[in-house]
């Protein structure tokens, strides 16, 4: 047990001991943030991070637009229950 703990501690500390030999990303080794390749990767990462959110919110916006358009087509102006099972609430009399 003690040996395992010792080995575990060594493994945990090894990256900090070899800090100048270890890099987080194997392709970002060309130095500080101003380097051209690092900039390129940063822009690419920002773009790829933004895209899922952009697409998700576009789709949600489309659904919201469709919902509002359908509501308008039915001629509903007052607030209507969003969920179809809201009739149970009405029935309960509360």
């Amino acid at each position: 047990m003690k040996t395992q703990l010792f080995l575990g501690a060594v493994c945990a500390l090894l990256p900090s001991i070899l800090a100048d030999r270890v890099y987080a990303c194997s392709v970002c080794i060309n130095g500080p943030g101003g380097a051209r390749l690092t900039d390129a990767f940063n822009w690419s990462v920002i773009f790829l991070m933004a895209m899922p959110y952009t697409i998700l919110f576009s789709v949600l916006g489309f659904f919201f637009y469709r919902y509002r358009a359908a509501k308008k087509a039915r001629g509903e102006t007052a607030k209507a229950p969003f969920l179809p099972w809201a009739w149970i609430h009405k029935e309960s009399g509360r």
Binding site: S44, F47, M51, I88, K90, G93
Partner: protein
């Protein structure tokens, strides 16, 4: 159905049928609320999900292009042919016009006007064909000038990105021709023209994607 049956038993019990009391006391329930239609049909939702996946696929390719483009000191690299910006600009306008034609075709289908639908779908297919032919011609010229998939990062990113879009336009063209044939046979009605709608969604995606790729690959 079960919900409506329960509501009917509460509001209008038949002779001999034990009436079900209203839940939780209070006022007797009013007439059942009309069931609302889904805001988007299943087939359209499926195509939308497919388009989301396609958008992420092209995002990956664009991400790779950004890495190569931003990291390179000179773009296009020396001794590589320049891309035909002006001709492709005209081609972009042609593809955007095809998107407009598809929009008009969808409006015609919505109004149940079948002759204009066929006419505008054919116009869309014609403009799409012109786009593909011009793209193919420019590709042949670029290959003759020495820009190939294996000639370097410049050629590889160009052919991968623009080639993938070209393949999608080609696929959309096949789909569009099937829809034109169906419209010719009178398969669509005022209540059911889902085929035109789905094809229109895909075509709109392909058209909307192209100006982004054009700006990124040809102009940036």
């Amino acid at each position: 159905m079960a919900r409506e049956a329960v509501v009917r038993k509460i509001t209008q019990p038949l002779a001999g049928e034990t009436p079900i009391p209203a839940f939780g006391g209070g006022e007797p329930p009013g007439p059942p609320v009309a069931l609302s239609q889904p805001i988007i049909g299943n087939s359209r939702l499926a195509v939308l999900m497919f388009l989301v996946a396609e958008a992420m696929f092209f995002s990956g390719l664009i991400g790779a292009f950004i890495v190569f483009r931003v990291s390179s000191a000179e773009w296009p690299p020396p001794f590589q042919p320049r891309l035909p910006v002006a001709v492709t600009g005209v081609n972009t306008a042609i593809l955007l016009l095809s998107g407009l034609a598809m929009h008009v075709a969808l409006r015609a289908a919505h109004r149940g006007k079948w002759a204009p639908l066929l006419r505008w779908l054919s116009a869309t297919a014609l403009l799409g064909t012109i786009f593909i032919v011009i793209q193919g011609y420019e590709w042949i010229r670029l290959i003759r000038y020495g820009l190939t998939l294996s000639s370097g990062v410049y050629g590889a990113t160009f052919y991968t990105l623009i080639g993938c879009h070209g393949a999608h336009v080609l696929g959309a063209m096949v789909w569009l021709l099937v829809v034109v044939a169906q419209a010719w046979k009178g398969r669509f009605s005022e209540r059911n023209y889902t085929g035109v709608q789905l094809c229109g969604m895909y075509w709109t995606f392909v058209v909307a994607l192209w100006p982004i790729l054009y700006a990124l690959v040809y102009l940036y």
